[in-house]
């Protein structure tokens, strides 16, 4: 019973949300917030894989989101839009092709993460942090200099795909895809971290030299881990681009990376459930404080400073929810 309870619960919530969205019980604003929650969950859990589980300190996660967003947007416009000539696929194919587009964006983002993974063989801590910041700036600057995708003016036209899906069958497609990809992200990370191979990630975090002696191929583990993390962030970026319908390189700057970091450290490093909970809390907080305007960005950092002072390990602190509240184990197991 415990084995399936969580999955059933999540599926039920997802179906309930979709049905409510279909029959307009929840309006577009709430839907958008739910979709942002999903994307933030993807961002925080994928960053958690590197910053929490592997113990590296990267602060340029938005770079991979940016790569994913741009690649999937370009593919989307290429396949279903009119900007680069006639659409390649008929509009009825959009439903099938869309996840492929997002995954391809993720794949390219994963490839781009090699930029970070290769220097990480030799160095870590502060020097790796600076490399990731440099990569973040490089990606933004490179895209700003590509005039054929709009440069710093941004890029749009992805809505064609979304509309094509809606015309095929009227349903809250983007909400569906966000929920599916979020579940996919959590599943991938959970399976990877708990697998025998993935335990090498935690070994690298604890002691790199010892891990090497215990026959963990640390370089390979690092590369794989960076690529998975960046790939999932790229998927998040692709979804984000299709929800908003417009991407701009400056929307993936260091501030976006900081947001992802805030979520990871709020939830507790290395805790998957912590990252999920903090992503939900953080997005909710951002929406609640939306009316506050600029003050929002004073309150959120201040909160994090206070958390660092009084509970530096984050909300859950390197433990899963079921470790913090052992009684929950009666109700669910999560594998």
């Amino acid at each position: 019973m415990q084995k399936y309870s969580l999955n059933v619960l999540m599926a039920a919530v997802a179906v309930l949300l979709l049905v409510m969205a279909q029959f307009k019980i929840i309006d577009n604003y709430i839907q958008a917030v739910i979709m942002y929650v999903g994307i933030n969950i993807m961002m925080s859990t994928s960053l958690n894989l590197v910053n929490g589980n592997m113990g590296e300190f990267t602060c340029g996660h938005a770079a991979f989101m940016c790569v994913g967003a741009y690649v999937s947007s370009i593919l989307s416009v290429l396949f279903f839009g009119n900007k680069f000539g006639d659409p390649i696929f008929p509009a009825s194919m959009a439903v099938v092709v869309f996840p492929v587009i997002v995954l391809l964006g993720g794949a390219v983002a994963a490839l781009s993460s090699i930029l970070v993974a290769l220097p990480s063989f030799k160095t870590r801590d502060d020097y790796l942090a600076i490399i990731t910041i440099a990569v973040n700036y490089m990606v933004i600057s490179a895209i700003e200099n590509m005039d054929w995708i709009g440069g710093s003016r941004g890029f749009q036209g992805m809505k064609d795909t979304v509309w094509a899906m809606r015309d095929t069958l009227s349903a809250p497609w983007m909400l569906l895809w966000v929920i599916l990809f979020t579940a996919f992200t959590i599943w991938v990370i959970r399976r990877f971290i708990t697998s025998t191979y993935g335990k090498g990630v935690n070994a690298v975090c604890q002691d790199e030299v010892a891990a090497e002696i215990m026959s963990v191929n640390t370089n390979k583990i690092k590369t794989v881990n960076f690529m998975i993390s960046a790939g999932l962030a790229g998927c998040a970026g692709g979804l984000f681009a299709h929800i908003v319908g417009y991407v701009n390189p400056q929307s993936f700057n260091i501030l976006k990376s900081t947001e992802a970091m805030v979520m990871v450290y709020l939830g507790g490093m290395g805790s998957l459930s912590g990252a999920i909970i903090s992503a939900v809390l953080f997005t909710g907080l951002m929406e609640v404080l939306r009316s506050a305007g600029v003050i929002k960005w004073v309150i959120i950092p201040l909160m994090l400073v206070l958390i660092m002072q009084f509970r530096p390990e984050g909300l859950l602190g390197n433990k899963e929810l079921s470790d913090v509240f052992p009684k929950l184990k009666k109700f669910y197991t999560f594998k």
Partner: protein, 305 residues
């Protein structure tokens, strides 16, 4: 030829700003092993403090002449900015250090303090940009087709003087010896009767004070102030410090000028557009770090097994 010398001068000016800020990063890092990510924003605060101080001095109540204002605003700005740095240290970093928190948490705190400084500035003063008053009458010297402003000379000379001063403090004085000692062994140093907290406060005074100086000079050279001016220049100065080998005064100085030369060089090349500046600067730095991960002057840290 004139073109090249002109660009070398520009590079020296930009390099001076980077070097001045990078020195602050490297001082704090050298002592505490802490990346003070709020340093770029301390620089921004310094520029704003300079604006208000000089505005007050030029105003009706005092009515000083611009040159006198410059001479008075210089120390006042440095003192007030170093107060900001020390306040940050007292309320944000010191409690964490006392608790023995992992240095990652201190880094996060520093990042967040930077954001707080930026956005509270935005909230208090609004998004409108401020125009910095002209303090020194701009003199342009034309030497064989190369134009040099007196401000440029002041900036470059200041950066060199600050470097020499800091190098002297760190390598020749007792307090500098204590600073190097703390970075060498944080636990043995208090046993030698060295007040560790005072030394750290002194480090922050030095670093933030020179960030304030950089803010004043920057505001005089590029007289538009906005809350996010410290962000990019701060990150770049940090990169300069890392490339030179963070924790090393000489490294920060050389790294700052290296970055200045790379940036101005990219802009000056005829076949490249100036928008490629950031891309090339960051790519070159990435390659340097890839080949020599500890920076140009940094010592490789041995890991204990």
């Amino acid at each position: 030829m004139d073109f090249i010398i002109q660009n070398i001068l520009n590079a020296l000016q930009w390099g001076s700003f980077y070097a001045l800020i990078a020195l602050g990063y490297t001082l704090v890092y050298g002592v505490l092993r802490l990346i003070n990510f709020a340093h770029g924003d301390v620089f921004m605060v310094g520029a704003y403090i300079a604006f208000f101080v000089s505005g007050f001095m030029l105003g009706d109540t005092l009515g000083l002449s611009p040159t006198v204002t410059f001479l008075c605003a210089l120390p006042v700005t440095m003192i007030l900015t170093s107060l900001v740095g020390v306040t940050l240290e007292r309320i944000a970093y010191r409690p964490l250090r006392r608790k023995g928190a992992h240095r990652l948490y201190v880094v996060i705190t520093a990042l967040m303090c930077g954001l707080i400084l930026e956005y509270s500035n935005l909230a208090v003063l609004g998004a409108s940009r401020l125009k910095f008053p002209e303090l020194i009458h701009k003199t342009v010297w034309n030497i064989g087709g190369v134009t040099v402003t007196n401000l440029k000379v002041i900036v470059i000379v200041t950066a060199v003087l600050v470097f020499l001063f800091l190098n002297f403090i760190v390598t020749r004085t007792k307090i500098g010896m204590a600073m190097r000692g703390i970075s060498y062994d944080k636990f043995a140093i208090p046993l030698m009767g060295i007040p560790i907290d005072n030394i750290i406060v002194f480090t922050f005074i030095l670093g933030s004070g020179f960030a304030g100086l950089a803010g004043l000079l920057f505001a005089m050279s590029y007289p538009i102030l906005e809350p996010f001016m410290g962000m990019l220049i701060g990150w770049k100065a940090f990169i300069a410090a890392v490339v030179g080998g963070i924790g090393d005064i000489k490294g920060a100085f050389v790294g700052g000028f290296l970055l200045g030369f790379i940036e101005v060089g990219v802009v000056a090349l005829p076949f490249l557009e100036s928008t490629y500046r950031d891309l090339f600067a960051f790519t070159i730095l990435l390659i340097i770090l890839w080949i020599k991960p500890t920076g140009l002057f940094g010592m490789p840290q041995s890991t204990k097994i």
